[in-house]
């Protein structure tokens, strides 16, 4: 064989191999949403919906931009959410037909929260914390959806994320999901009290505390062996996210009553650790939960030793 022919043959083999890999990656990154049969008949509990909205601290990210004249109490979205990957502009969660959830079905909402798939069938970047939300019960998701639908509609058009190679990167999220969404979902612990389990659910599923407090592996998958162990700030901010283990042993809080007061009042009662790195906005939403839920969260958190 002449060197020219050999080179051409090599190129053909590599070209074919590359195409094969591309096809595999394309198939592996394919979004596969749930079908309508995944949605049970359910009478929504609106109060529970609002509780989940507060526990999920949705407003902290889905707020209007600073300085806009939109009502800051409504999750009309648009405020910049900066990450090392790029800047995202979270979705309008009010029921506006064109720009909000008005045109969504309950199935669309469940697909977004559980699988990170948009109504258009594309992947959401995990700046939207569906790896945690997927542990929420379907009934809770439907209650939250129903409550959001009762809010006044605000017009707030979506703004495209500012991420390099957006379309390719978005499809690539499908590959990452193959690892991240294979992690076990949050499960209750039969040996613990009902209130401990309530707290664990609120913290790990809607509360998505682990999105910042649990460090990630080099593949950006949450490292369950270091659950709530703290680490670098995922937003690329200065300083670290604290370890939530041994909060009593390390004299951060005296007991569950003390942590409950801290979560309800934050620094207005002198709890200064709850005002940095974005915790203030989170604490303000947690403060609006029923006291029993804040206490349950405290009980669970202080059991991490």
């Amino acid at each position: 064989m002449s060197p020219g022919r050999r080179r051409r043959r090599l190129a053909a083999v590599f070209g074919l191999g590359g195409a094969l890999v591309a096809v595999c990656l394309w198939i592996l990154s394919e979004p596969s949403p749930l079908s309508a049969s995944a949605i049970p008949a359910h009478t929504p509990d609106l109060r529970n919906g609002e509780t989940l909205f507060r526990a999920g601290v949705c407003l902290a990210c889905h707020k209007p931009p600073d300085g806009s004249n939109a009502n800051a109490e409504l999750p009309s979205g648009g405020a910049a959410f900066k990450t090392p990957v790029g800047v995202f502009y979270p979705q309008n969660l009010t029921p506006d037909a064109e720009t909000g959830l008005g045109g969504w079905s309950a199935l669309d909402f469940v697909n977004a929260m559980r699988l990170g798939i948009s109504p258009a069938g594309t992947h959401y970047f995990p700046a939207f914390p569906y790896p945690s939300y997927r542990s929420m019960t379907t009934e809770d998701l439907l209650d939250l959806y129903a409550w959001l639908e009762t809010l006044p509609a605000v017009r707030s058009p979506a703004r495209k994320a500012d991420v390099p190679l957006l379309t390719v990167a978005r499809r690539g999220v499908g590959l990452w999901k193959r690892l991240e969404l294979r992690r076990p979902t949050h499960a209750s612990d039969g040996t613990r009290s009902a209130s401990w389990n309530r707290g664990a659910y609120l913290v790990n599923a809607p509360g998505h505390c682990g999105e910042c407090h649990t460090p990630k592996s080099w593949l950006k998958v949450a490292d369950d062996r270091r659950h709530m162990r703290g680490g670098p700030h995922p937003g690329g901010e200065e300083g670290t996210v604290p370890d939530l283990h041994g909060l009593v042993a390390r004299k951060r809080y005296k007991d569950a009553g003390d942590l409950t007061l801290a979560l309800q009042n934050g620094e207005t009662l002198g709890y200064e650790d709850l005002s940095s790195g974005g915790m203030a906005a989170i604490q303000e939403q947690i403060a609006r939960l029923p006291e029993s839920d804040v206490r349950a969260m405290s009980e669970y958190l202080l059991s991490l030793e």
Partner: protein, 155 residues
Amino acid sequence: MKVTSHAVSFAVLAAFFFGTTSVAMLASDPPAAPDPAKARHDAMEAVGSAMKSLAAIAKKEAPFDAAAVEKNAGAMAENLEKASKLFVAGTGGGESRAKPEIWSDAAAFEKAMADGIAAAKALQAVKDEAAFMPAFQAVGGSCKGCHDKYRAPRK
């Protein structure tokens, strides 16, 4: 005679050493060590410790005591004033939790600091228990607003 001359030379030597070392010590004594980051950190720690005593009253762990409130809120105002003069441009980074917004948004930061001082002074003037809680929460809210924007998490 020999003994005395020895004693004299020792005395002279001792005086000489003592003299030079004390002069050297005086000379090495830093004329107001210019480390604003450390000085403001210490001032803010003093604010934090005053806050602890006040928070104990707010949480009803300690009884309301007008004299203690005046003393602690006074210490708070004083140390906040001290700290507010120590945010010298270029002294962020390293150990400091001061965020760059302090300098990029200087006017807003100075106003937030002045509001904090005013809130601490208002708390200092509180004489009765009924007025304590609102004044205390105004101070806490001021700490929170400022920390949220201008202080990075622990490193």
